[in-house]
Subunit: 197 residues, 2 copies
DNA sequence: GCGACGAGACGAGACGTTCCGTCTTGACAG
DNA sequence: CTGTCAAGACGGAACGTCTCGTCTCGTCGC
């Protein structure tokens, strides 16, 4: 009764794993998401198709792991805190839009986003392993601002984060307008200052 | 030198057009976006594949037209204006999240969103024909609020709109949290009130 | 008027291609 | 030996193109 032949992770080839992840990231930046194929990844990585299917259930999870291996390398740990909340948030968000304007970041990010939008399981994984750690850093920074009296005590920090990042991510995805530093500054200023006169 | 054989729109069959659009909308709600195929749409609509390929360049543009035919039917023209900006925005956004929670709306919307994310031409079309008309209504409502002294004069209305709608759309797409009326209220209150104490 | 005519969209589906996900093979490493 | 590896054959699904024969039209000679 050979059921599913659960793979033996202890025997897994690290070389093949890395080759697959880098090839996936490389290809999606070159040919775009629509033309990204498993067979293409296998060929580019010099790997058999079965080696991919043995370890990943979907194209999305490959991209996800590829991103995870990237971001965990360059994890900074904290957001800047100069005491000036507006300036700090502008710095972070300007850096974000700069990244999003590079095709080598833009294309893979859009691809990953698409998989997340359509795959709730992957979305949960993303929320837990990529979004939540970043969100915690943002919460920390906003909490410090609360202690400094720059943000009201009764503000929900998750809502505040969504207010700062949501508009930028939305404009990026839907291309409803140019993703400039000026726009970032306006969002930060308006979000922090509020709409009331 | 017969180049491309541009089809003659005056001879176009309205019956076939409507059948294709309704079948597309119907199918994406049933089988989901990943399993939506041109051949499936053609069969469901009782239409030849070539009739689809003659008039639409991509699966995304079919969905787009299908949505356009829906929304132009039920266009209201104005956003509610009771004088209470927060209450009016909550009403609109609560209705939006209610729609997004229905699978018959959720799935097609996600599908269309995905196509927009990956197709700049479609994104431009979307921005012009669906987003911009809605955005104009929102601007009108916010302008009225400015005249009533409820919103600062120097606030960029497009930024204000992004601040109100961006967080909700983002949470919907990425499923980073529950899409409740409570969340909507928090976003509206925080966006309008501002983060400052 | 009217009836043959030509242009072009239509439904149907065959066609070659690409990619899918599975399966088989032989090499090789633990 | 056992299980992963690279390589690639395999059947199936959907792609986009194409070729049929049918069906509407508007045009024009009569």
């Amino acid at each position: 009764m050979s059921q599913k032949a659960t793979p033996d992770a202890s025997r897994r080839s690290e070389t093949a794993r890395r080759a697959i992840l880098t090839a996936a990231l490389d290809l999606v930046g070159k040919v775009g998401y629509a033309k990204l194929t498993i067979e293409g990844i296998a060929t580019a990585a010099g790997v058999g198709k079965q080696t991919i299917y043995r370890w990943w259930p979907s194209k999305g999870s490959i991209l996800f792991d590829a991103f995870l291996s990237l971001t965990t390398d360059e994890q900074e740990g904290v957001l800047p805190d100069t005491g000036d909340l507006a300036a700090d948030m502008k710095l972070v968000l300007r850096a974000t839009v700069d990244e999003l304007r590079e095709p080598s970041y833009d294309l893979p990010m859009r691809a990953l986003h698409t998989e997340i939008v359509h795959d709730p399981a992957l979305a949960a994984d993303y929320a837990q392993r990529l979004d939540e750690p970043m969100r915690e850093l943002k919460r920390d920074r906003l909490r410090a601002a609360q202690r400094a009296g720059q943000v009201a005590e009764d503000v929900d920090l998750d809502v505040a984060i969504d207010l700062l990042f949501g508009p930028i991510l939305n404009r990026w995805l839907q291309r409803t307008g140019p993703l400039t530093h000026e726009y970032v500054d306006q969002v930060v200023d308006t979000a922090l200052r509020g709409l009331k006169p």
